[in-house]
């Protein structure tokens, strides 16, 4: 299955210019695509368009086409998009339904909305809790969790819906390093099972860890697109407002000190 944008632009209602312009992208099964860029570069808008929320839930004008398996999905209702494309945003407090008494119910929420069989909902919920390593939180009140725990619950809820494509807008923004690693490992596991994932993220270390391909946006346009190791080592990253991963910065520092040649390449790659 593929999720693709062809020449897509999006202008929010009331705005005079497009927030993203002429964006084309094709995501294949098992591919993890990173999306970087400075603030206001258009990362969140691209996530909203890929998820189908723009223009269905956020009014604006969409140009170009969004394709799922080659089918133009412009006319699809939002609930149908939600079955195919799962979406997570950065603020964990607003990701949760706010009406569930326990984490288990919260993780069930999405698959219950899809009208799946009861046993399937329960099986998927246990599997999603396990995948995120939060089984011990199942009986807790979601509103009493830390921000990081809430985000893990939100991602588990998304996993329980089993969408083929995941669009994640800075999902680890409020997670500690351990939580970030947990999310990264869970996403890598999902990609290995065939899901395609687009992750907008400021943490380039995270992108370097799990992405096979990275795109960099500037003023709503894709300015860098290629293999993760190439894009994340590109000398233009700093100028684009994207900090290079720590491994790349270490390599540069070692180069500058004349030490890098003494180290194995994979240590600083």
């Amino acid at each position: 299955m593929t999720l693709a944008l062809h020449g897509v632009g999006y202008r929010y209602a009331g705005a005079s210019t497009e927030s993203i312009t002429g964006v084309s992208l094709e995501m294949r099964d098992g591919e993890v695509v990173g999306l970087g860029g400075a603030s206001e570069a258009g990362k969140s808008t691209m996530c909203l368009v890929l998820s189908g929320l723009a223009p269905r839930a956020i009014k604006g004008v969409l140009s170009g086409t969004l394709l799922v398996d080659g089918e133009d999905v412009t006319a699809w209702p939002m609930h149908r998009m939600a079955e195919v494309v799962g979406t997570i945003f950065q603020d964990p407090t607003t990701q949760l339904s706010g009406v569930c008494a326990t984490v288990f119910e919260e993780v069930c929420f999405g698959s219950m909305n899809l009208g799946l069989a009861r046993d399937k909902v329960i099986d998927r919920t246990y599997a999603a809790l396990d995948a995120m390593g939060i089984g011990e939180l199942a009986a807790r009140d979601p509103s009493r969790l830390s921000g990081g725990q809430m985000q893990l619950v939100a991602i588990a809820g998304l996993l329980a819906m089993r969408p083929r494509h995941l669009v994640l807008d800075e999902p680890t923004a409020q997670l500690d390093p351990a939580g970030t690693v947990l999310v990264a490992d869970a996403l890598a596991h999902l990609a290995a099972e065939g899901a395609s994932i687009l992750i907008a993220e400021q943490k380039t270390d995270m992108l370097a860890r799990i992405c096979s391909r990275v795109l960099i946006l500037e003023s709503g346009r894709i300015v860098l697109d290629g293999a993760a190791e190439d894009v994340l080592a590109d000398a233009r990253l700093d100028a684009l407002g994207v900090p290079a991963p720590s491994a790349v910065r270490l390599r540069r520092a070692l180069d500058a000190a004349g030490l890098a040649t003494d180290l194995p390449a994979d240590l600083v790659a």
Partner: protein, 229 residues
């Protein structure tokens, strides 16, 4: 004190006894008193001192007088307020909002309506927490929220504004999250369980269904006029 027997009976039978049975009597009394205190004070002052047509004067303070009729009417009104706040508090202390929504959905009520009901209930503590954190943040930036009435009033706007705007933003963000989780899908959602519903609960519900219209009919017909009802 005509009209007191009915509310007292309701408070005992429909509020206190069930609260004792459910083990929430202490919390119920505290919460119901807190809920009804502001309106109770105003009702008491207005009716005791400004009851129209009161003849039997108990106390005179300058131009205002407290009358026996005013005290009687205030007591009756206070007891009615007690019934209302007590029964609402009892409901929220004994019913999980998610169980209520689940049961409404099971009985065919729209998931959206259930969600709105539940979200409205859940929003209250969330707004209180938000207000507390914004108050703390504004005080850390030098806002004086203590002291005289004027100072307190001038401190309200910088707190209420962010609370309301924050709540609106939260609603927008949560709407997007709900859409992304398939909430707008037509048709019935999967319901995983049914809340417990014992025989005694069903019996009480049927008693309410029968007695409330009966009480309204009796009250409307004036049958209890002689008892002050």
């Amino acid at each position: 004190m005509g009209g007191v027997a009915g509310p007292v009976g309701l408070i005992v039978v429909a509020v206190l006894l069930p609260a004792i049975w459910a083990g929430v009597a202490r919390r119920l009394i505290r919460t119901a008193l807190l809920l009804s205190l502001p309106i109770a004070i105003s009702v008491l002052l207005i009716n005791v001192f400004f009851f129209p047509g009161g003849q039997d004067i108990l106390l005179r303070i300058g131009p205002v007088t407290a009358t026996r009729e005013g005290v009687a009417f205030a007591m009756e009104t206070l007891l009615r307020i007690g019934v209302i706040s007590g029964s609402i508090t009892l409901f929220y202390l004994t019913t999980r909002p998610s169980d209520l929504v689940l049961d409404l959905e099971r009985r065919g009520v729209s998931a959206r309506l259930g969600f709105v009901t539940n979200a409205a209930v859940q929003m209250v503590p969330s707004m209180v927490e938000r207000a507390a954190s914004i108050t703390a943040a504004q005080r850390a930036r030098g806002l004086d929220t203590e002291g005289g009435l004027r100072k307190r009033l001038s401190g309200v706007v910088p707190i209420v504004g962010p609370v309301i705007l924050g709540a609106i933003n939260e609603v927008e963000a949560r709407t997007l999250a709900l859409e992304a989780r398939g909430f707008s899908r037509p048709g019935r959602r999967t319901l995983l369980w049914a809340p417990g519903d014992s025989g005694i609960q069903r019996l009480v519900r049927w008693l309410i269904v029968v007695t409330v219209p009966l009480a309204i009919a009796i009250r409307s017909s004036g049958m209890l006029a002689g008892f002050g009802g």
